[in-house]
């Protein structure tokens, strides 16, 4: 008892003599009684095999959804699958990894030579896209856990005017662009960080995000699937892919009888109306408009790229290194702020400010390239949205819009033919 205190007292002096030599300050005692030293436990993480089981489940759910939506025309089947996905991918697998978040893994793997993507993350990204090229957005219909929980919360959907729907429809592309930019520069995964439903599935998480999730669900009672339609970045990709799908859910089997029942059934306003104007569209003026809009696209892209290249400094501040370097350069007095953990840790690490600034500059350069590409991409999106307004053919039937229809199959139950 006493000698150990003496040793403790002498410790600093002994350390001073031994320098930085790596040795135990207090050697492990030799016990006289039969004391058994415990070993630290290491609970195993979930095995790799289980991840591939998830891929398998995803494949099965997607195949079944396609079958229910296109061949069997069964809303009940899709509803069952929705519940299954909410339970399996949501509550059991805790919502990670999901296809929406895998965009970022793919973007980072594409941009960062050091990042290694796991195969199942890549598969989670690819499989729903491939399915959408053949059967439409069947992933949104039943396999996506985020979509599933919102779908089950639809109560009395209101109609949103088309202009508002189309304007808000731009947000997913913006979100997608920003998510790819931030992931590719290694800043952060914003989709995962601001996923509103993962906290509900885990029944644990940052309080603010759980409140946001509940707010989305409550809003979803009246505005059907608000996250899917106006935020989801993966939905934006699927929207484009699904437009070119080989087959797609069709409201009627034989011939539309214009009963309009499907429009009451669809909570997402994803049914295209027949045009009231039955006259043949004036293709001459439409072609002129089409060419005009087509010519505007490069202009929009250049304008977007210009705006993008001006916003790199602002956007790059989300990266912790850039933020820290900027803070230290502009406010050197903060070095004495003992409460700022980041600055104190940086000072203690012995790295020079010049190294940090150089590193931050490399990241900012990446942001410079990335943000003008982002701007050009957004310009392209706006241009294509404008081109979509040009009508070449009048519709004479009620039919699901291949881009916005999520294959929930509600209309199929209502259609009498």
């Amino acid at each position: 008892m006493k000698w150990i205190k003496i040793i403790l007292f002498l410790m600093p002096f002994m350390m001073a003599f031994s320098g930085l030599q790596a040795q135990q300050r207090f050697p492990k005692p030799e016990f006289h009684n039969n004391y058994v030293q415990p070993t630290p436990t290491t609970p195993e993480p979930r095995g790799v095999g289980m991840e591939f089981m998830d891929v398998l489940v995803l494949l099965v759910v997607l195949s079944l959804t396609s079958w229910f939506a296109i061949k069997k025309r069964s809303r009940n089947g899709i509803l069952l699958l929705t519940v299954f996905s909410a339970i399996y991918f949501g509550f059991y697998r805790n919502g990670c990894i999901c296809s929406i978040g895998s965009i970022q893994n793919v973007a980072l793997a594409f941009a960062d030579p050091k990042y290694v993507i796991s195969l199942y993350a890549l598969l989670f990204f690819l499989i729903p896209l491939i399915f959408s090229l053949f059967f439409g957005r069947v992933f949104c219909g039943a396999a996506c856990p985020l979509g599933a929980i919102q779908d089950l919360f639809i109560y009395k959907p209101i109609t949103i005017p088309a202009w508002l729907r189309k304007t808000l429809g731009f947000i997913p592309y913006l979100y997608l662009g920003l998510a790819v930019l931030y992931a590719a520069t290694g800043t952060e995964f914003i989709i995962c960080r601001y996923d509103p439903f993962i906290g509900i599935y885990r029944m644990n998480g940052p309080h603010l995000m759980i409140y946001l999730g509940i707010a989305f669900l409550l809003m979803g009672l009246f505005v059907a699937r608000p996250y899917c339609r106006f935020f989801c970045p993966y939905g934006a990709i699927l929207n484009v892919f699904s437009r070119f799908s080989r087959r797609h859910l069709s409201v009627y089997q034989t011939k539309c009888i214009q009963c309009k029942l499907c429009t009451t059934a669809c909570p997402f306003e994803a049914i295209d109306f027949p045009d009231e104007d039955k006259s043949k569209p004036d293709n001459r003026s439409n072609t002129r408009k089409f060419i005009l809009y087509l010519g505007l696209i490069p202009l929009m892209m250049v304008a977007g790229a210009w705006i993008g290249s001006k916003s790199d400094v602002f956007l790059s501040r989300a990266h912790p290194d850039v933020y820290l370097a900027e803070l230290l350069v502009s406010h050197p007095e903060l070095k004495s702020d003992s409460k700022n953990i980041d600055i104190q840790t940086f000072l203690a690490s012995g790295k020079s400010l010049d190294t940090l600034v150089a590193e931050a500059q490399v990241i900012r350069d990446k942001f410079h390239t990335g943000s003008w590409i982002l701007g050009a991409f957004l310009g392209l999106v706006i241009g294509l949205m404008a081109i979509n307004q040009v009508i070449f053919r009048r519709k004479d039937e009620y039919q699901a819009n291949k881009g916005t229809c999520v294959s929930c199959a509600r209309c199929l139950d209502y259609c009498p033919v």
Binding site: K28, C96, K114, S118, R193, F244, P320, T345, S349
Partner: protein, 191 residues
Amino acid sequence: MKRKTFINNSGRLILMGGLVYLTGSIILKRKVSASGKYVWQIDPFKCTQCGRCATQCVRDLSAVKCVHAYQLCGYCDLCGGYFKPNTHKLNTGAESQLCPTGALKRKYVEEPFFEYTIDEKLCNACGKCVKGCGSFGNGSLHLQIRHNLCQNCNECSIARLCPSNAISRVPIEAAYQIKGDFKKPVITAPK
């Protein structure tokens, strides 16, 4: 209708080509690990015990816990991780304990040695004991991500804010970095 089918088919072909290019370029750079899975782990040699593990984890009670590498422990009576600095009475009274939740337990082994264990149900990963042990003792206490608790988020929210960049993805085979020795163990980092 012919034109529509043509546009449809060519659009599908272009998009498929895009996917193939994206996948191919990732696979050709050998950046896909087929068998491997990565998990998040703290490098105890980089950790500076800033205390963010306790607050930044997406879980209410952090998935990070203090781990005791018994092999390194000196079994001291006056444990820098257990007692507050300048504590005179070396007893288990709450006022003399450094751990805010009482997760660090002390058990008498034989004169003058004591064994210290961690009650993981109580540990909140504040790192106070780790700091105390590291600055005064052998550094046998250190923080580790416990994989029975970790959700293995796509991006660890603690890693994003870790000031010393101590948290990184490690291969599942080396899921823990428990200090067994003073030397930093060689870990095959993700390529």
